[in-house]
Amino acid sequence: MRCSASVERREPEATRFNEPTAFDSRTDFPPIHSEITLWFRVTDVRITSERSHGPLTSITERATAERTKHDMSTAATAEVNGKESQELDSVVIRFCGDSGDGMQLAGTQFTNVSAVFGNDVSTLPDFPAEIRAPAGSLAGVSGFQLCFSSNEIFTPGDEVDTLVAMNPAALKTNLQDLKRGGTLIVNEDAFDKGNLQKAHYESNPLEDNEALAGYRVHKVPMTRLTRDAVEGLGLTQREADRCKNIFALGLVYWLYDRDAKPTEEWLSTKFAKHPSIAESNLRALKAGQNYGFSTETFTVHYEVAPAELPPGKYRKITGNEAVAFGLATAAKLAGKELFYGGYPITPASDILHELAKLKHFGVKTFQAEDEIAAITSIIGASFGGALAVTASSGPGIALKGEGIGLAVMTELPMVIVNVQRGGPSTGLPTKTEQSDLFLSYFGRNGDCPMVLVAAQSPADCFDMAQEAMRLAVEHMTPVFLLTDGYIANGAEPWPVPNIADLKPITVKHPTEPNANGDGYLPYLRDDNLVRPWAIPGTPGLEHRLGGIEKSDGSGNVDYDPQNHQHMVETRQRKIDLIANDIPEQEVFGPDSGDLLLVSWGGPFGAVRTAVDRSIKAGKSVAHCHLRYISPFPRNLGDILGNYKQVLIPELNMGQLRHIIRGKYLVDAQGYNKIQGKPFLVSELTRKIDEMLK
């Protein structure tokens, strides 16, 4: 279940508007929202307790999910205000427009309103790569997709039920995702010659019966209606036009029977210092709602009932927020200061932004001159005894490689958050991908093992951030926490944890000599091969660390060949032993059978949904989702042997598959999508069917 909201980028603050005109619904399809497939009804959900018990309880536990297929028959129909009202289980909406049109804001508001109403929500923000792509161009289109449901959901949806397109470029780049019979709402005022040209349309698609046949089309003169609505407030035309996203939002609120109150409050607070802007946006919102209510074109509106989530308090959280909260929580639980060193990079920067707000938690943030300084600054902080963390993405992680090697050599604890994006090189900065697993697993000189854990959803970032820090300090090792753009910017309802249920983190700094006589041996290991963490300021334990190979025990420089073999093997064994300190792998579905899907990271929701549907369809399929990648859970090898075929879907060319094949000698097959987009459930179901043919 994930809902998410996204990050606002370069979007104008909000908008205001005007009022209605005519639309036209030239196609007359029945609403088919109910076909939207991917939601679950969860009959045995124990999310609250699971999450509050920390990361070790697997989400697979709540996999007693039972899917309800929603079809037309479940949609109840009623008459409201002379207009028909239908009840739906799940709806997918996408707002798209120029990146100056405020689409992220509209989507985020819709998400908030739906979450507060009690729907389960999952979001997929889609940013243009170029912040300053020319207005109206295809490269400048920004989108925000969300699914809201009366059932538990795991993905933002495959196909779009309602598409709001603010200009021709947005229509052109998004129409293919609108389902046949879906609702299309366009700002017809934006379809002028210039914009059509920029979108490479030879003729106006709104005047072309063929092009939009098969959709329920509503052409709304949003620009004009918005201007009319804000008239008399003394706004410039530009200011007035910036309210049209809020007009569109109001219209969609009406369409889906949303209570606009949270948005009204938000607008009033946000623009408290600019009363005329606040007022204009409020008017735009109202005008949008009124337009739906009073015009002829919208003959039906829809209701989606609240989801049956386990009782308790909820809050919407994005993956990056959850990472920041998880880290601050880990520090608090350990009674330590958190030190964050980082260099801004999409999509990881929000972790820095969130942590910078937490100074009163004893969180120190350092915006370094580059990623090399970021990683090395946290090495220094960790040497000093702080809980140290850095976050970055693609190119930044590449730069950190040498520093991470030093952290492995000096066996200092720290967390490196890798918010993956499309690569190689600058790649696709705003798009999601899982192609930096190899970089994280192998990307250092020498045999250089470390711990890798991966979050599976936005809220899971909270648990896994704590778990990463726990493993780091309790095993004296750097730990990679892998997330990706999809999880980082996506949000979901997060059951607010009970502090008393959080797992404690134990930090020990010795104060007494540990060697015969009064010496201190910085590499004297315990049964788990973990060395002690003595910190500067402790009398009598003065010692030197460094990147040169060292003698086990004393830590003195040592070039002896046998010692080197011993140390390389010891560093590996130390990581391998951590398998005893992480939970066994759980499997969703049958313990053995025809096909096992193995996934990690962001694809969790889509894979889980696809597997669940296949099981419901009577297929012998199971799902094993990995949150621990180095070391692997100790029973993974056994699990892999219990199925006739193994399929590993990844948003890369098969990096986990490569590691698993190498380690377990299983003939795992891959399903690999490298388009900067998450998996669709339908793609996975097709692949499952194909493998079981």
Binding site: V116, G118, Y314, E337, F361, F366, L545
Partner: protein, 341 residues
């Protein structure tokens, strides 16, 4: 019992010597710098466990292994960044950075510049031997133009930079230069650096006996140095020479020139001012290089500015005073929450 009741043990240079065998080449200038450091530290009144040496990679960067304090021999060029993290996390420690001309000005130039401009309270000692010692004798960013080395058999064609210019250009609050074997002078400079609050940048001319022997004879040999160097004294005119009969005056273009005290009155000479507001004075002194000019030694600049680590700590205190100590419950409940019944 308050801490003032505790008598600090009297430490000596020996207390700062580690048990590791020193592996520099015979007559390497590094030995002398190490010896002076061991002499200075006991005079500072700082407990040994609160002193940390952080270094990069190079002959000079072996330094921390030979000091019985906390130490970190890191990776090439990154010592200023590691030290920044350490100092910000633990402002009460005294943190020294040991770097070389390659380590600090080539691969690590970026970190050096940023540590200095932030004014992190670090003592940065750059051992300038104008050569890459550890990798056996390639030219460095401070090697003079035309320098013949293994990597420049026909002489280097790239222009060197001056460490002091870099430091001053990076808004350093403390800048000094000394010479490895000038024991008294080096001790004085290290002491002043230790006492400065903020980044103290010290360039030490260091003889690489194997790959660049004698590069600094002009400033280290007894007979030559009085002829070639000006020993800076705050508030005093720039006078030098075996008979102290030569001085520096600014000419009509504002450029320094050598004058004879027989012809020019002391009052008309250039007076040294460590705490001049504008760094132009220190910069000008830094650009006086032997053999074109007599070369200044000592403290070029010593001004006061808030430190980065101090300001970070202050913001934490302010935020805590304003918001109270961070409360997880309140954090989790911030933003829109809703109740599912």
């Amino acid at each position: 019992m308050s801490t003032t009741d505790v008598e600090l043990p009297v430490l000596t240079a020996k207390d700062f010597a580690s048990d590791q065998e020193i592996r520099w080449c015979p007559r390497c200038g590094d030995y002398s710098i190490l010896a002076q450091m061991k002499k200075v530290l006991p005079t500072l009144g700082i407990p040994k466990e609160e002193i940390v040496f952080v270094s990069g990679i190079g002959c000079s960067s072996r330094f921390p292994y030979y000091m019985d304090t906390y130490g970190f021999h890191s990776i090439h060029g990154r010592a200023p960044a590691i030290a920044t993290g350490l100092k910000v996390a633990r402002p009460e420690l005294q943190v020294w950075v040991i770097t070389g001309d390659g380590d600090g000005l080539s691969i690590g130039g970026n970190h050096l510049m940023h540590a200095i401009r932030r004014n992190v309270d670090l003592k940065i000692i750059l051992f300038n031997n104008q050569i890459y010692g550890l990798t056996k004798g390639q030219y460095s960013p401070t090697s003079p133009l035309g320098k013949r080395t293994k990597s420049t058999p026909l002489g280097s064609v790239d222009h060197p930079l001056s460490p002091l210019s870099i430091a001053i250009g990076s808004e350093a609050t403390f800048v000094a230069r000394s010479v490895d074997v000038d024991i008294k002078h080096l001790t004085m400079v290290l002491e002043r650096a230790a006492k400065h609050k903020g980044t103290a940048f010290v360039e030490v001319y260091q003889d690489c006996n194997v790959f660049n022997s004698g590069a600094f004879d002009f400033a280290s040999k007894k007979d030559q140095k009085i002829e070639n160097c000006i020993y800076l004294e705050d508030g005093k005119p720039l006078i030098y020479g075996p008979n102290r009969d030569k001085g520096i005056r600014l000419n009509g273009k504002g450029e320094p020139e050598v004058v004879s005290l027989d012809e020019v009155k002391e009052d008309d000479l250039l007076f040294h001012d460590e705490s001049a507001n504008e760094p132009a004075h220190a910069f000008q002194l830094g650009r006086m290089r032997w053999p074109d000019m007599p070369e200044p030694m000592g403290i070029f600049r010593d001004i006061s500015r808030p430190t980065y680590d101090g300001e970070v700590a202050r913001q934490l205190e302010d935020a805590t005073a304003k918001n109270g100590t961070g409360d997880l419950e309140a954090l989790f409940n911030s933003g829109d929450t809703w109740e599912v019944k």
